[in-house]
């Protein structure tokens, strides 16, 4: 998420915007949003409906969570780019920004091992300390 915060200006400059999605409820999501200083909203899919419909739900992990994934949806609601990722190998936000800016081709986007900054790692740890590892169902 923090990566998208850092790329947000570039993404906005292309006319696009960002929404994060997780199965966390509003309280936890808002806490994460503030901690990480995210300039975009976090959608709360507590019933796992969207994660399921978009094919990214992992029902066996921590009470059912969305696996990391990125979709770019155009104004006609069609998917322009999608990537199902893992915690360890993901599409960098910088690559998404380049795609939107027309600087890269969708089929040439690399998944990379991404390591959070120490500061963002500590922010995430603080959130787990406060809310626990699991996300309850609504």
């Amino acid at each position: 998420m923090a990566e998208y915060r850092d790329q947000y200006e570039k993404i906005r400059a292309t006319g696009a915007d960002v929404s994060a999605v997780s199965v966390d409820g509003p309280e936890r999501s808002e806490s994460v949003r503030r901690q990480f200083e995210l300039p975009f909203p976090i959608l709360c899919d507590t019933r796992r409906e969207v994660a399921k419909a978009w094919g990214v739900l992992n029902p066996e992990s921590r009470g059912g969570i969305a696996e990391p994934a990125v979709f770019i949806v155009a104004s006609d609601r069609r998917i322009r780019f999608s990537s199902r990722d893992s915690e360890s190998k993901r599409v960098p936000a910088a690559a998404v920004a380049e795609l939107l800016a027309g600087e890269a081709r969708p089929d040439a986007v690399e998944r990379r091992t991404l390591i959070p900054s120490v500061r963002d790692f500590l922010r995430a740890a603080a959130s787990v300390f406060r809310f626990g590892m699991k996300s309850p169902r609504e």
């Binding site: 998420m1 960002v18 094919g55 990214v56 739900l57 992990s61 770019i72 949806v73 006609d76 969708p106």
Partner: protein, 47 residues
């Protein structure tokens, strides 16, 4: 393992939704993409 639902592919319409955001505001897919493309970043939550 993910459940046996096919992820929509590039070129497909994204499945519609309406969800609350972290501030409690209702957000529909149609409204979210009305002003331009939007990147939806799914994350595992809090970590």
């Amino acid at each position: 393992m993910a459940e046996e639902i096919q992820a929509p592919k590039v070129g497909d319409p994204a499945p519609d939704f309406e969800l609350p955001d972290s501030t409690g505001a209702r957000q529909s897919l149609a409204a979210l993409v009305s002003a331009g493309p939007r990147v939806f970043v799914f994350y595992r939550g809090h970590w």
